[in-house]
Symmetry: C2
Subunit: 499 residues, 2 copies
C-alpha cells in the first residue's frame, strides 16, 4: 500500500453537516470538545465557517461569528480552517462593493481562515474575481468553485472553461461543488478528469448525499484524479447532509488510494456528535434518500421552503404544480444552478407563478435576476420575461459585472454600524452589520448576554410535549377541568385544578 | 445507450428490507397494494419469502406464511418470486433430514416460488447439496450462495472454489451474499470478476448498507461482471437495510450499464412504503451508518441481541468486552461467517465467556459447532475448546455431513403435527410445525382468528404514550387522585376521577 495515492479529506461536521441536517443550529459549545480530536485526525482541512453559520450565529444563537472563528483557530492549531464564501455576495444575500469584499476577506484571514472556497450561484466568473484576488492578496488558499448542475447547456467543456478562468484568477485549487447531490458517478469522473488534466490544479469535490449515489461519485471522482473530497463524520452524515467520513476511508481499501485518517480519533469524533445530535432533534427532518431531485432539480431544503410559502397562502395542495414549475422558471432564467441565492429566487417565483398566473407578478429578486443584476447565466434569458421585468421594475437590463455598479460603500457601512447600540467599533462588527442589517442591531444589543444554546435535552422536550398535550385536555391538569366527585355521599359537578 | 449492458435488480422491500429495518413485522396487507406496481416495474426478481418472514408470520402476525406466498404468487404473476433458504436448515434453526428438505422445496415451488437462494452459514457446501438438488428437481432456479466474510483465511480463490462447487451442484446462478455490509469495493470487484470468469454463471450480489460503502461495492461488482444486484425501494432502504433501488438505477447513467426499471412505478412503490413505514416505527432503530463492523465483524442486529442478553444478566456495562470477545470466539471456531445461525451461536458464547469466564460454560449450540455438528468451517477449530466441548457434552466430534446422521423424519413430523389442534392436514402445515415446533401449536390454534397487523397508527401510539405518562402521575387523570378543593369557602380533601 506504500504506493497508494493519498486522498485528502475535508471534514464538514462543524459547518455544512449541521447546516444541512439541523438547520445550522449547533452551538459552538457543542463542538469545542471534538476539536482536539478533529485537529489530530489527519484531515486536509476543516470546514467550520461561512455558508449559513454566520447568519445562524447572530439570528438564533446570540453568538459572535467572529469569536466562533477565533475559537476554532485556537482549538484547531494544526488544521487548515476552511470557509464557504459566496463570491461578491460574501455571506449575505446581495452584491457588495469591492471594498467590502476586500475588508471581509482580510478580516476573515486575520481571524484565522486558511482556505476560502469561493463560489457564485450563477457560475459567473466575474462575481468571483474580486474575492479570489482578495484571498490571493491575503496570502491564503484561494479555492475557485465550479457549481455543478445539469441542463441541456451544461457540458464537461463548459465546466473546464470555468475552471480555466478560475485558474487565471490565481486559484490554488478547484472545487467541484454538488450542493443538490445531482453529480452521478460517470459525470463526476469525466468532469474531474477533464479539469485535472486541463488545469493541473488540486481538485476538491463536494457532494451532498441526498440522492444516495454520491459516495459512488466520490469514488469515480477519485479515479478521475480528485485530490480532496468532502465528508462528514458518520454520526453527522447522510440524508440531506454528506457521505460519512469513515465510509470514505474504508471504501478506499485496496483500491490504490488511501485516506490516511486516524480511525481511533474518527471513532471519538463520531461518539462526540452522536451524543450531541439528539439535542437538536427538533430541527431535524426524518429525510432518508430522494432521487426525484434528478428530474425536478429541486434540492430538499428548497422543497420545504416552498411548502411553507404555499401553506402560508393556504395553497398547500399546490406543491406538485410548483415543483413542475421550477424547471420551467429555471429554463427561462437561462438554467442557473440552484444554490443560495438562486434556489430561493427561482423557487419563490415558481410559487408566484402557480398562485397568481405565470409571470403575472415578478418578485423583485427574480426581476433583477432576469435583468442581469445577479450576473450572467449560461443560457439565454427568455426575452418575454425580461420584457416583463423591465416593465414591472422600470430598470434596464445590464451586461456589466453587477458589482461595477456599486460604488465604494465601506465608509457608509461603518457610519451605519457606528450608530447601533452595542457596536464595538471593530471592522468585524461593521461586516456583521453589512451582511445582515436587519438582524445585527438586535444581536449587538443582546450580545452581552452571551451565547444561547438552542439545543435541548430530549427528555426535557418530551416532558414539554406532555405538558403541552395537557393544555388540550389530554395531558396533566393545567386548567380547570370538570369532574364528578362524591363528598359525604353527595355528587357534585365541579371544576378542579391542581392544589 | 443501446449497447449498455443490462443489470438486473432484485427488489427486497417485501422480505429482507422490512426484516432488517422493522424486525420483520410488516403485515401482508401493508404490502399487497404495492404488488401490481412491483410486478410491472421490470425487476429481475422480487424477494418476498424466507429468512425470518416465515417465523415472524406465525410468531407475531398470526399469518399463514404459505398463504402469504400464494398471495404474492397471485399478485405478482409476471415476476420471479425469490426466497432465501438456509440450506439444510431450511427456515429453521437445526439441520433437517433430507426427506424434509425435499418436501419443503417441493411445496415452496408448488406454492409459487421461482428462485431459491440457498446458503449455509458456514459456507460448507455439503449443507447446500440436498437443497440445491431439490430445487433442480423442482425445475426452479437454484441460486448457490457464497457468504462473504473477512478473516486471515478467506481469499478470492477460496470464494471461487466454493462457487465452482456450487456450479457442480447445478447452480443456475451464484449469489455473493454480504449480510454484514463488510464487502468493500475492491474485493467486490475482485471476487465477482473471478467467480464470473471462472464459472461463467450469472452472478447476483446482495449487500446491506450498514457501513455506508456498499453502493460503491455494487458499482464495482457490476464493473467486475455482476448481472443482478439486490436493492430496496428508497423509502425502505439504508441503515441496517440495503441500498436504494432508485439510487442504483440513477448511479448507472452514462456508465455503460443500465438498470431498466420504470421510474414512475418506482416512485409509486416508494410512496406506498413511505406511507406504511411510520406504522412500524416502534420496531425501528434510529441507526444511521456504522463502520466499526469492519473491525468487530459484528452485524448490527447481533449487537442489539447481545445487549439485551447482557442486560437480562444485569451486565449491560460489559458490551464492549463482549464485542472484543466475539472475534476471538470466531477465530476459535475456525472463522465462520457471522450470519444466522452462526452469528447467534458465536455471539451468545461470547456473552457466556465474559459473564462466566472464557469457555467455562459452553452453550449446547456452540459445543455442537465446535464438534462439527453444523458442518465444517474454513479454519481449524481450537483443539482446547473442542476438548471442552467433548467433555461437557459427552459427544464425539464428527467430520461427516451433519445431515448424514439424521434419519428420515418426515413421517414422524407428520404424526407430530397431526396431533395439534388446528392442523389442517396439509404438508405445508407439517413443514410449518417442523420449522417452528414451539410456535406452530399456538399458531394453528389461533389461525382462524386471521392475521394480526402489529403496525400502529403513529397518532394512536402517541396518544398511548401520553396515557401511559398519566399513569405515572404526570398525564391525564386516569385513576383517583387526591386534590384539595374548596366548595362554598370550605376546604375538602377528596379523591377525584374523570366524570
Amino acid at each position: 500500500m506504500s504506493s497508494a495515492r493519498q486522498i485528502g479529506v475535508t471534514e464538514l461536521a462543524l459547518r455544512d453537516a449541521h447546516q444541512s441536517l439541523m438547520a445550522t443550529r449547533m452551538a459552538l459549545e457543542d463542538m469545542v470538545d471534538a476539536c482536539p480530536d478533529i485537529d489530530a485526525a489527519g484531515y486536509w482541512s476543516v470546514e467550520c465557517w461561512g455558508g449559513a453559520t454566520f447568519d445562524a450565529c447572530i439570528r438564533f444563537l446570540n453568538e459572535d461569528p467572529w469569536e466562533r472563528l477565533r475559537t476554532f483557530r485556537r482549538l484547531l492549531p494544526n488544521s487548515r480552517l476552511q470557509m464557504l464564501l459566496r463570491g461578491q455576495n460574501l455571506l449575505g444575500y446581495r452584491h457588495y462593493g469591492d471594498d467590502v469584499v476586500d475588508h471581509f476577506v482580510e478580516k476573515a484571514a486575520e481571524n484565522g481562515m486558511d482556505v476560502f472556497r469561493v463560489f457564485d450561484a450563477l457560475n459567473d466568473p466575474r462575481n468571483l474575481e474580486r474575492a479570489m484576488a482578495a484571498v490571493k492578496k491575503s496570502g491564503k488558499h484561494a479555492q475557485g468553485t465550479v457549481c455543478y448542475t445539469t441542463s441541456p447547456l451544461h457540458t464537461v467543456e463548459g465546466y473546464v472553461q470555468l475552471a480555466n478562468q478560475l485558474k487565471d484568477m490565481g486559484a490554488d485549487s478547484i472545487a467541484l461543488k454538488d450542493m443538490a447531490a445531482l453529480l452521478k458517478p460517470q459525470p463526476a469522473y469525466d468532469i474531474v478528469k477533464a479539469i485535472k488534466d486541463e488545469t493541473g490544479l488540486q481538485v476538491n469535490v463536494h457532494c451532498h448525499s441526498t440522492t444516495g449515489v454520491t459516495l459512488v461519485s466520490l469514488m469515480k471522482a477519485i479515479e478521475g484524479g480528485a485530490d480532496v473530497v468532502d465528508t462528514a463524520i458518520s454520526s453527522m452524515s447522510l440524508g440531506p447532509g454528506h457521505n460519512p467520513t469513515e465510509s470514505l476511508q474504508e471504501m478506499l481499501e485496496g483500491t490504490g488510494y488511501v485516506a490516511d485518517l486516524d480511525k481511533m480519533l474518527l471513532g471519538r469524533i463520531k461518539e462526540h456528535f452522536a451524543a450531541v445530535k439528539p439535542r437538536y432533534s427538533q430541527f431535524m427532518s426524518s429525510f432518508n434518500v430522494e432521487t426525484d431531485i434528478f428530474d425536478s432539480q429541486i434540492p430538499g431544503g428548497m422543497i420545504s421552503n416552498m411548502e411553507s410559502q404555499l401553506k402560508q397562502q393556504g395553497a398547500g395542495d399546490k406543491l406538485k404544480e410548483v415543483m413542475e414549475e421550477v424547471p420551467r422558471v429555471r429554463a427561462d432564467a437561462g438554467f442557473p444552478p440552484l444554490v443560495t441565492p438562486s434556489s430561493q429566487i427561482v423557487g419563490t417565483q415558481a410559487v408566484f407563478n402557480v398562485l397568481m398566473g405565470r409571470y403575472q407578478v415578478l418578485t423583485a429578486e427574480f426581476a433583477d435576476l432576469m435583468l442581469g443584476y445577479y450576473g450572467l447565466t449560461l443560457g439565454e434569458m427568455n426575452p418575454d420575461v425580461v420584457a416583463k421585468a423591465k416593465e414591472q421594475t422600470g430598470k434596464e437590463p445590464i451586461t456589466v459585472r453587477p458589482a461595477d455598479l456599486i460604488p465604494p460603500e465601506w465608509d457608509e457601512l461603518r457610519d451605519d454600524a457606528a450608530k447601533l447600540e452595542g457596536f464595538d467599533g471593530s471592522d468585524e462588527d461593521v461586516l456583521t452589520h453589512a451582511m445582515f442589517p436587519k438582524v445585527a442591531p438586535k444581536f449587538f444589543k443582546e450580545r452581552p448576554q452571551g451565547p444561547k444554546n438552542v439545543g435541548r435535552d430530549p427528555a426535557e422536550l418530551e416532558a414539554e410535549k406532555l405538558a403541552a398535550a395537557g393544555d388540550t385536555g389530554s395531558g396533566p391538569v393545567r386548567m380547570p377541568i370538570s369532574y364528578t366527585i362524591t363528598i359525604d355521599g353527595k355528587e357534585h359537578s365541579v371544576a378542579v385544578k391542581p392544589a
